[in-house]
Symmetry: none
Subunit: 430 residues, 2 copies
């Protein structure tokens, strides 16, 4: 495989695939372009390098320009959309125009269109017939569930266009039944690309990146970090001749990463924190209850998303109002009056209260200021107190997530932080 | 490969906006590019013509090429992604390079980055500092919830680049607070496209569509229905010279829709069911508590997402385990033994129990089988019982969401169904 440097210097050597999605509804923001993502994934599975995605509206001049540009840059152009019978379906005609090739009526497609009509006695309209006009020399991709066929066509050396309708289900079926085989049989599918995702908690993306500068510079496998609110992950992506080969090259990198990050790494691929916590408790045959103030049920809601959580999750108290903290969780009134509802003393009493009431092995409690109002200089928005009480554990801590954060982010960060410390506490207990 | 000069014949007529999303994870098919869709929608709202979307990986040469191409074709290039601290975040540097402009360290950003650090005494790492390097002359777009700022920069006549981070929540906030105003103040916003969304509950998309065939055919404004799990909405979109004009044409359509659908329509634009419930309770000075089994805290979590909910939401009990239903909510053991935990009798006792314990005006309770296991022929997965107890109201009901649904969907549908019936019950109480 060529490196990116070679590709760019040697402009005559067209390389890799591009995706061109055609449709004004995408440019208007009416729909999310999920076709691009799906095709990109398929290209990665086949190991076909893919360097650009483009979206163009139903405009002849701009579409032609985009097709010609791509024909000078890539080996394969995959298009979606614009194959249907309506006047704004212009893809096939513009592709033929771009390479000065006439359209030909294909009788087998006419037959197919006729067979697909509900009423066998009615005639195909002119607009329906339009779908049977394909560039001279183009191979047909049959449409199994819809009407408009696609094409595989090489209008010039080292450049092939493959077209699909915009309807995702039709596209997928046509890809699986015909296009993917064509790509394999014509030797475009060279190497396998496979990847593994590692999930982290309790570390920022930049701190994580600073720990592994040598890995981030690596070439095959490549290592990249990603972050969203409260979540950090690393993707290891390897290229190779086979799945065994890619797995073999991912393994040592994964090992090094987990060694460098220790308990910060809580799982791979689709693992979630709540899943890890539930599994740990199940393996120890221990139970848990929650006492939630500012998260309002968010921890319970996460834990119960996992099938089988009923075996270890007893439930909890959403103690949003201070009176509930006193009445149900038996937090002494003087503690609230002396230290405030958002304090280490109160979360400790909440955890102890819920653990006792619910007769659970573990209890976790949260009380904080999610904002946007209710903060003070001493106790600003974003300040959250936590307590975990286990068979032997008792820890309380506070986080300051920052008063610039939204209410939603503070609640989300609180839930993730609680689950992560719970995970670590359970691991540390014996 | 053609250079950008050759591609664009009429360079003098640059027009409209393009979107360029940067990130190898998009090309690998790891994530769906929702940022493009969101920005496209915002451009439509502002009436800024938008002709092309492109995705490029974290590759310097290809990124530079894409930027230069766009600079010869469009007036505005909006980019997302690649602004963070890691080595694969290259957007700002490549933009500066493309127009032979040096990067300058901005002290106000350094200060901002320092302020956003959790530990005020630790130092900014070199990779963190990278985010403060911006092209000379570029205006800053502040990042309110994350770290990496964006820029608004015109490196040449009639061409402006606006950059955003890839994190959707950061992007949206930066657009709303700064970029959108800049576009309006600099006269890019021309013909107005504006839309209004109506939200519905307790009605399916197809039933709703059947009520309004004449409206779905209309041209300006257009009317379209959308649906996702438990949520149905209608978007009315109008084009016009001014906001007054579009509002004037939307109003009668909105009126007709709400007349035809009555209480099924619960709000417009960004309104949520939980927000409506909280507002109703606030206006009546009434309070609420929840007793949740299969939703595990999901109703409480939704209600507490709304700022000010603490005034009317007392909290609740997550009674996941049957012993909790008895011990904390005082559901008599014989009711559970006779009718089962998922029964009208049990949810009624749960609602009464939590209303009494929490001294709340309203109580809502849920108990059901979220699956994937635990169902029987008589009580299949997807069966959920509910009860609402108000000052004068007492209703129990059951829903069968279908055993083909996922655990997550059954939990989500239960929460939305509970909130909608709560809304209707409060309205009916008068």
């Amino acid at each position: 495989m060529k490196t990116s440097k070679e590709i760019n210097i040697d402009k005559k050597n067209q390389f890799g695939a591009e995706i061109l999605c055609i449709g004004s509804e995408i440019l208007l923001g009416n729909i999310v372009n999920t076709n691009s993502q799906w095709i990109a994934e398929q290209l990665a599975i086949l190991g076909i390098p893919h360097f650009r995605q483009t979206v163009i509206g139903d405009n002849p001049a701009r579409l032609k320009e985009a097709i010609l540009e791509s024909s000078n840059r890539s080996q394969i152009l995959i298009t979606t959309g614009g194959l249907g019978p309506t006047p704004d379906d212009i893809t096939t005609k513009i592709i033929a125009d771009a390479f000065n090739t006439p359209l030909q009526q294909r009788n087998n497609i006419l037959m197919d269109l006729k067979n697909k009509m509900k009423n066998k006695y009615s005639k195909l309209s002119e607009s329906q017939k339009k779908q049977s006009l394909l560039p001279k020399g183009a191979k047909i991709i049959n449409n199994y569930s819809g009407t408009a066929p696609g094409i595989i066509w090489s209008p010039k050396d080292n450049f092939t266009i493959i077209t699909f309708p915009g309807v995702p289900s039709e596209l997928k079926e046509m890809w699986r039944k015909e296009a993917s085989n064509w790509l394999i049989n014509n030797n475009f599918s060279k190497k396998i690309i496979s990847s593994k995702v590692l999930h982290f908690a309790g570390i920022s993306e930049s701190l994580l990146a600073d720990k592994i500068p040598h890995l981030l510079k690596a070439n095959n496998p490549t290592v990249a970090t990603y972050a969203s609110t409260g979540e950090v992950k690393i993707r290891i992506t390897a290229k190779g001749e086979s799945l065994e080969e890619t797995n073999r090259s991912i393994k040592p990198i994964e090992k090094e990463l987990t060694k460098l990050t220790g308990l910060k790494c809580f799982g791979v691929d689709n693992t979630t924190l709540e899943e890890v916590v539930i599994k740990l408790l199940l393996s120890r045959k221990e139970t848990i209850a929650v006492a939630e103030s500012c998260t309002g049920g968010g921890i319970g809601s996460k834990l119960t998303k996992i099938p089988g959580s009923s075996k270890i999750f007893y439930g909890g108290v959403i103690a949003y109002n201070n009176s509930i903290k006193q009445d149900i969780l038996e937090v002494p009134e003087e503690i609230i009056n002396t230290h405030g509802a958002v304090s280490k003393q109160v979360v400790e009493a909440m955890a102890k209260g819920v653990q006792k009431k619910f007769k659970a092995s573990w209890a976790i409690s949260v009380s904080g200021i999610a904002g946007p109002t209710g903060g003070s200089k001493l106790k600003p928005v974003g300040l959250v107190n936590f307590c975990i009480k286990g068979p032997k554990t008792l820890i309380t801590w506070e986080e300051r997530f920052g008063s610039n954060k939204t209410r939603e982010d503070i609640q989300k960060l609180s839930v993730l932080n609680a689950l992560d410390r719970l995970r670590l506490s359970i691991i540390m207990e014996n």
